[in-house]
Amino acid sequence: MNENSILLKMQDISKSFPGVLANDHVTIECEKGHVLGLLGENGAGKTTLMNILYGLYQPDQGKIFVDGKQVVINSPSEAINHGIGMVHQHFKLVDTLSVIENVILGIPTNKAVLDFGPAKKKLEKLCKEYELFVDPEEIVWRLPVGKQQWVEILKALYRDCKVLVLDEPTAVLTPSESDQLCRAIRKITEQGRSVVFISHKLREVIEITDKVTVIRDGKVIGTVNTKEATQSILAEMMVGRPVTIERKARPIIKEHSAVLVMKNVNAFDDRGVQALKDFNLTVHAGEIVGVAGVDGNGQRELSECIAGLRKPSSGSITIQDKQVTNVIADPSFVGFIPEDRQKTGLVLDFTVAENLLIKDYKEKPYVKNGFLQYSEIKKHAEHMIKKYNIKSPSGDIKVKTLSGGNQQKVVIARELDAQPVLDVASHPTRGLDLGAVSNVHDILLNERNRGAAVLFISAELQEVIALSDRIIVLYSGQIMGELDGETADQFTIGQMMLGQTTEAKK
């Protein structure tokens, strides 16, 4: 292979954190105009490696080459100067600023006074070129997540990067948005730029990448040409055993009392737009109700209303005949896995042990005579870390240092361990690796079998179909249709998601 065509090479990179070796002599290469996939379980070290490339961390050892020249990258601004752009796993946007302000933030210029005119023109041109449309004037927090993702990508492209790193960009995208992203990536590579693409969704990895490097426990397991790979080969390389997401056999639950009853619920979103319209839903004990639908059709408001985080403007919500008026403090009542783990699910600056305790801090044995019992809290944390397979050196480290997927596991562990009567799981597998996804499915299925009512909200059709007893499709705040989990097919659901009712409705 021609050495000159290698645009990015990271050679023999090692990086350790207290208690973890996150990267262990990792070498990756990406050719000009190619897409390199990075695969690996949660906590394998993918984000760490990319953060090193972006100058956020310094490697303990190893070299980085861009365009054949060795470079030392001490800060993000140096990375940007070397033509490296990065879309982070968790958004790095200033919510309160407009799109265009976010895009030009930090771009060196000798003009002190802001002049958005030329910047807007350039941005609009990029929008058109890559078919990622956003309104430059809109304030970022008002944008749906998908659009925010476009802003992140446009921000990197605006700076003319040669290498674009996308760290789990599709975790928050709907299937059609993901397809749109794939088209944009093709255009990006056609221009001779390279893309490093991180994802847990094997289908996408196979569709978009040229080569895939698989990392496990910080070490490179191998690199394969995507043409020669299949989903099962990759899954096995990644996890070390074959895994698939399939519908599992389930016992029929006899007792079928209604747990969650929503009657004529109306609710508004943060922007003041009606998000739920005369919404009626009943979830019974021992059943998993899957909520399918394109993101932003009321899923978030639905889950927040049930959790008591959002007040419906009218209608009633009861859980086991108890009215939901406020956040429910009793952990054995509702388990709530929010869609945004970093903003709603966790206190990032608390330790893992503290985060695991947030709901039970008033309970014995964690508190005695008004004092927290740290030895008990620690024991609890260690137990949970083991039980839920959280990759964390101990319970005493800040939860923000965990990998994205492991942060998610902390939320799941805390919310479901108290065996609540109702589980509301909003995108619980977002950012999880295949093995972990199947674990979460097992956990939720066990919850159902135990007799809990489960509301499972997800944008992944495959998962909804694999897990649900009953599927409802949300479309602009209303139920478009309802299907039986055993017989549902992707096509029918997909149609309903777009607002078309079909005969299959029953």
Partner: protein, 308 residues
């Protein structure tokens, strides 16, 4: 008679609000960048003493204000080193600065005995004497010391810098999301140092103006009389926006001036209650306004450059 009192009150209101406005404009930038510079009360106090002392010895107000600015720069560096580099608690650090300032100014003032009896020359008016006689606007506006006009001008400048310049954009960004700002290639630490130094200079200069624009005296201990804290409140009431904060400062300046005037008239209300007025208004304004403002997201939190 009443007419004159009202004119006098209006005139004093604006005069009193000038130092508040200048100090508040600096504080807005610090808080927008995520740091509460609680030390402005103490820094203002130091500036007040520095102002009269230097103006007395150097016989120049320009030199005096320049000295205040230098003093502010030094104090700002100290505050920034502690709260940004060492990540100390911002409230505790500010209180410490305030306590130190009271002690230090008392000691220095007790040494400078000559100053106790001499008055520093106060600032002149911007507009010619003839204009002061125009009814209403004459005494209220044109007789103002030029610092009042500077304060208002600074508020407009602050608004422009915050919303229309690159640096202003960076400041707005860093307080809301320092991680995002860092990944955009900016130095969070540098920005916070800059805003803290700016706010400290503003506070110190405001202190200098406080003495030089009115009495020309320094009163040990209570010179600033909690004005720094009122500024902190004004910034919140003004929703971290320069224009709205300017009006909040004017409101507080007006109550302060009213309180002083009511004390001298034969009033049935005990003076202690009158003295409370500015603070009562502050609390009332805070309770009404706070809910409506958008707090910078990392307001008061230390920035840790490591992962999040």
């Amino acid at each position: 008679m009443t007419y004159e009192i009202i004119l006098d009150w209006l005139q004093a209101s604006l005069r009193w609000s000038a130092p508040l406005i200048i100090c508040a404009m600096g504080e807005i930038f610090a808080e927008r960048s995520g740091i509460i510079n609680m030390g402005i009360e103490g820094i203002m106090l130091c500036g007040a003493l520095c102002g009269v002392a230097v103006s007395y010895y150097a016989q120049s107000q320009a030199v005096a204000l320049f000295a205040c600015a230098i003093l502010g720069l030094v104090l700002g560096l100290i505050v920034a080193f502690l709260t940004v580099s060492r990540r100390t608690n911002q409230v505790v650090t500010g209180l410490m600065i305030n306590l130190l300032a009271i002690g230090a100014t008392n000691v220095i003032f007790s040494v400078l005995t000559v100053m106790r009896h001499k008055r520093a020359t106060t600032f002149g008016a911007l507009f010619p004497e003839s204009m002061h006689r125009i009814p209403l606007v004459g005494p209220v506006l044109f007789a103002q010391p030029f610092t009042t006009w500077i304060a208002i001008f600074i508020a407009f400048i602050a608004s422009f810098v915050l919303y229309k310049t690159r640096w202003g954009l960076n400041v707005r960004a860093v307080g809301d999301n320092p991680q995002a700002t860092a990944t955009a290639g900016l130095s969070v630490i540098k920005l916070k140092y800059q805003t803290l130094i700016l706010s400290s200079i503003a506070a110190s200069v405001a202190g200098g103006i406080l003495t030089l624009a009115s009495s020309g005296y320094f009163a040990a201990g209570g010179m600033t009389g909690g004005r720094g804290f009122i500024v902190l409140a004004a910034v919140v009431v003004g929703g971290w926006d320069p224009m709205r904060t300017m009006f909040a400062c004017m409101l507080f300046g007006a109550t302060d001036a009213a309180q002083l005037r009511l004390q001298t008239t034969e009033s049935i209300i005990p003076t202690q209650f009158l003295q409370m007025l500015p603070y009562v208004i502050t609390v009332v304004a805070l309770t009404i306004m706070v809910k409506r403002s958008r707090v910078p997201k990392t307001w008061g939190a230390a920035y840790d450059g490591r992962r999040s």
